[in-house]
Amino acid sequence: MRYHFDFGWLIEYLPVLLKGIRITVQLILIGAVLGVALGTACAWARALGPKWLKPVVATYVELIRNTPFLIQLFFVFFGLPSLGIKMSELTAANLAMVVNLGAYSCEIIRAGIQATPRGQFEAGASLAMSPFQTFWYVVLVPALQRIWPALSSQVVIVMLGSAVVSQIAAEDLTFAANFIQSRTFRAFETYIVSTLIYLALAILLRQLLAGLGWMLFPRKASR
């Protein structure tokens, strides 16, 4: 075998790659913020919410955690339109990511909430805090602090999983790679480059989340 590696296409297709990176970053930023928000709401419902809500949320979490993201994506993009709910590729991709991360982060955050001692709730109440204030300041923030590393890992996993959204023609980095591959027939080089970009994005995202953790929870950091 004599294969000549050729990365000459890289300059010509750089804008395509950059656009793909932009979409991937945009997907994960929106997905992470909304997904964690959804996860927090679900964690509240599962740990402290009304009784009828608990089994509903539990079913949602188990369903999402035990099916592949690809199928969730197909269900949202191909399945829902038959119920009259139509959306663009990017919206569908984002919705699937939010729903997916929501379920995983629900379990992670719930673990943090349940580690809160009972007395903390009572202490909050005795300081005349409303139940919502108690939840927010006394329960949620320390819980998030505890589970921040696990939550960060999950966000990175969802970012890597987002490579799949190219399958419904959302124009992310993998979509760009497939496009370049089909133009240049330089499959191996294209995928090596895009894999390395994903690796760089993952490392960057991890650093970013670690920095965010420092900013959000300064008390722990300074101790």
């Binding site: 188990e62 369903l63 995928y191």
Partner: protein
């Protein structure tokens, strides 16, 4: 035009699910073997090898499985091998599973107290004897729940092989959808079949964790 009954759809999906199960078993077994080898390199005494295996693990954990599948599919072809989709799928999934299992098991081995190593060393045991008689029997108990839990990820990971053209449950779902134009029913069923495969695994992982609960008993 032929009409497809609900039973037709379900039967075709279930037939394809066999391949999902087979691929999961192959990946998990193969990944377990490679992962065990990787574990020994990762916690071994040679610094260079330790760093190398750490790099391997970070590379596979830090890149999308889909990209790894593409690279296996197109990369193996560079060596002049005609790569069928199933082979690329197996290779990529085994390497991916190995990276995760090695890291999970490393955590388990490192959770064993240092004193155990020192005690067994003071009995004149060599490295392999320490592993075989002292460390691994204890680490194995800690390792069972997360390992079973990870098998769920493997089953879900096999769905991606549909993208490089391996016909398993997901691919069958797409094919059946194209024939029947009932995406809601078909993908709903596909999701339920995956759920039926994965849920018992996740549940048993949780149960084992509670039953073995070794994390709190060990020290």
């Amino acid at each position: 035009m032929t009409q497809f009954t609900f039973w037709d759809i379900l039967r075709n999906l279930l037939l394809a699910a066999r391949w999902t199960v087979l691929l999961s078993l192959v990946s998990f077994t193969g990944g377990g073997i490679v992962g065990a080898a990787l574990l020994f390199l990762r916690i071994g005494s040679r610094r260079g090898i330790r760093l190398l295996s750490r790099g391997y693990i970070q590379l596979f954990q830090g890149t999308p499985l889909l990209m790894q599948l593409f690279l296996a599919f197109f990369g193996l072809g560079l060596f002049g091998i005609d790569v069928p989709a199933w082979l690329a799928a197996c290779v990529a999934l085994i390497l991916w599973t190995a990276a995760f299992l090695a890291e999970i098991w490393r955590g388990c081995v490192e959770s064993i107290a240092k004193g155990q190593w020192e005690a067994s060393a003071s009995l004149g045991m060599g490295y392999l004897q320490q592993m075989r008689y002292v460390i691994l029997p204890q680490a194995l108990k800690v390792a069972v729940p997360p390992t079973v839990g990870f098998s769920v990820q493997v089953v879900k990971g096999t769905a991606l092989t549909s993208i490089i053209g391996f016909v398993e449950l997901s691919k069958a779902g797409s094919i059946v959808t194209n024939a029947t134009f009932q995406p809601f029913t078909v993908y709903g069923l596909v999701a339920l079949i995956y759920f039926a495969l994965c849920w018992p695994l996740s549940k048993s992982s949780q149960l084992l964790e509670r039953k073995l609960n070794v994390a709190h008993r060990n020290h």
